[in-house]
């Protein structure tokens, strides 16, 4: 048996609406077993990209390769192996969770009914399974969407902002579910999000999309290094400041980015103490600010806006 290196690749994938380029020359590479975080701000083009992967909209140009073959002509074969939530977990509101899954089961051509209870338990909806979806909260719909995506035992999950509407406890639960699915069943998972820390906690690879362009594809460690939080300290004399901090507070993890600016990666919650220590030692402190914690800063950094 040949093992597939890549479950999904795109080549120069582009989507244009009139003369607005929404997705621009995307080359994604997703390996089997990856939890791939697709990270981008609102309007970056995440949903548009995922729609193209599912064949819901036509690329203006470029190619999509799923499970080692081109999408053209093989779309239905590929779709049998994918579970997805695109944009919003839509259900027939007049029907219960079980009935909605029943429709899915039928349309996927599956015989056994037992799998429905199994996935409902997996996502924690077993007790609400006979309730009409009309009465579901967004978080519950999101869970049901994941259940539906899992029902036909796909090899690839494509989930567009799946933690939307979930409470912190739910997010944690679902995150663990994704990790289990990848580890135990070897399912490849693509998760889009606009939240850096959400992706950070689950993805082993991350693709960053900004204004329709894939800025980079990096592994988890690289992302963590790039997005570390730090205190940016503006001082009158950075050399002396560094010396004082080392001596008085024992800091070691810092560096000087430019004259007058010191970037400190520890003691993040002690800016008052740092301020006091520096001032007491005759160093003027102009500003201390925590940064690097959000996507915005990160984008500024890699797009050269810093």
């Amino acid at each position: 048996m040949i093992t597939l290196d890549y479950v999904l690749r795109t080549y120069h994938l582009t989507k244009r609406y009139k003369d607005k380029v929404v997705v621009h020359d995307l080359n994604m590479n997703i390996k089997a077993g990856d939890i791939y975080g697709f990270l981008g701000q609102n309007g970056a083009g995440k949903t548009t990209t995922l729609r193209m992967l599912m064949g819901l909209i036509r690329p203006s140009s470029g190619e999509i390769e799923l499970f080692g073959t081109g999408l053209n002509g093989n779309k239905n074969k590929a779709l049998e192996r994918i579970g997805a939530i695109i944009e919003y977990p839509g259900f027939y509101l007049n029907l219960s969770a079980v009935d909605n899954l029943g429709i899915h089961r039928r349309l996927m051509g599956m015989g056994n009914k037992e799998c429905m209870d199994e996935v409902l338990t997996t996502v924690g909806l077993h007790d609400a399974k006979h309730q009409k979806v009309k009465n579901y909260s967004l978080g519950m719909k999101q869970r049901l969407g994941i259940a539906r995506a899992l029902l036909h035992r796909p090899e690839l999950l494509i989930l567009d902002e799946p933690t939307n509407g979930l409470d912190p406890g739910g997010i944690k639960e679902i995150r663990q579910l994704f990790l289990d699915l990848a580890k135990q069943r070897g399912i490849t998972i693509i998760i889009s999000s606009h939240l850096l820390n959400e992706i950070e906690q689950v993805a082993n690879r991350v693709g960053i999309i900004h204004q329709g362009k894939l800025l980079e594809e990096i592994d988890h460690e690289t992302l963590q290094k790039r997005t570390r939080h730090y205190l940016e300290i503006k001082v009158t004399d950075e050399q002396r400041a560094a010396y004082v901090l080392e001596q008085k507070l024992g800091v070691t993890d810092y560096f000087v980015t430019e004259p007058g600016i010191l970037r400190l990666y520890e003691h993040l919650d002690q800016s008052t103490k740092i301020n006091l220590t520096l001032t007491n030692n005759g160093i003027g402190v102009k500003e201390i600010a925590l940064s690097g914690d959000n996507l915005e800063d990160y984008f500024l950094k890699i797009t050269g806006g810093e």
Binding site: R51, M54, G55, L56, I57, R58, K75, N76, K77, L79, E80, I82, A84, I86, E87, Y88, G90, F91, Y92, L93, N94, L95, D99, G102, I103, R106, L107, M108, G109, K132, R148
Partner: protein, 254 residues
């Protein structure tokens, strides 16, 4: 194909669509049951129950209410996928979009058949109950009329589907339905023969043929052009639906 059709039927469980069907069935039954009341002719002799009149009245009701009802049913079946934001999921199944379209149209056809068949069964049942015999030739006439109503009504359905597909809402169909029913009511009150040229009103043709006491009876001279128009409407809007369903970029919600 049957898989998809069955799924479409499942989607309709616990919906108000069946009330819509009743909205056509009840008036049709009501009007035809008036023919069951004992009647006296002008010279004082009782008139026997007339099944042909029953069928005629049923047909009248159906050809006035039917177009609006069937447009609404079609609108619901097509537009709900956009309104309930299930269209992304629907088109993510490994099934051609054309199959989904055909399944939806067949669901509408089934509901049309139910709407037409129930009053027919009611008429037969109540006649049997009162007279204990059936006039078989008249029964055939009624049957023929009802089958033709179903077929002719279905002729305009792809147009309704196209409207709700493009509008992503049931509203265009509601507006169309009201206009068409008003128009149908007016032209049938006048026993107009040319009104069948309008595709939504073509089902009036077999109904009018059952009328017994109107001024101008006899074969409707507009049948050939009316059928031509209806068939063309059917084919063109069906092709439009298939192309639109297959080509359109799919976005759910706003």
């Amino acid at each position: 194909m049957f898989r998809v059709f069955h799924a479409e039927i499942m989607k309709l469980r616990k919906t108000k669509i069946y009330w819509l069907v009743l909205l056509g069935v009840l008036p049709a039954c009501l009007v035809s049951s008036m023919a069951l009341l004992p009647k006296i002719s002008s010279d004082g002799t009782p008139i026997d129950l007339d099944m042909q009149e029953m069928f005629y009245h049923q047909g009248m009701v159906l050809s006035v209410f039917g177009p609006a009802l069937f447009a609404l049913i079609t609108g619901y079946v097509v537009a709900r996928e956009y309104q309930e934001r299930t269209i992304n999921q629907l088109f993510s199944y490994p099934t051609s979009r054309t199959i989904f379209l055909i399944a939806k149209l067949l669901v509408v056809l089934s509901l049309i058949v139910i709407t037409v068949a129930l009053p027919f069964v009611f008429a037969i049942g109540s006649t049997l109950l009162i007279r204990h015999t059936l006039d078989i030739p008249v029964l055939w006439l009624g049957m023929k009329m009802n089958i033709m109503i179903c077929v002719l009504s279905f002729g305009a359905i792809p147009t309704a589907a196209a409207l709700s597909m493009v509008g992503k809402s049931i509203m265009p169909n509601a507006v169309l339905g009201v206009i068409v029913s008003l128009f149908a009511g007016i032209s049938e009150a006048k026993h107009s023969m040319s009104s069948i040229l309008f595709p939504w009103l073509t089902p009036y043709w077999p109904v009018r043929d059952l009328a017994q006491d109107i001024a101008q009876s006899g074969p409707n001279p507009y049948v050939i052009p009316a059928l031509t128009i209806l068939i063309l409407t059917f084919i063109i809007s069906l092709i439009f639906c298939i192309v639109y369903y297959n080509r359109a970029d799919v976005h759910s919600g706003t």
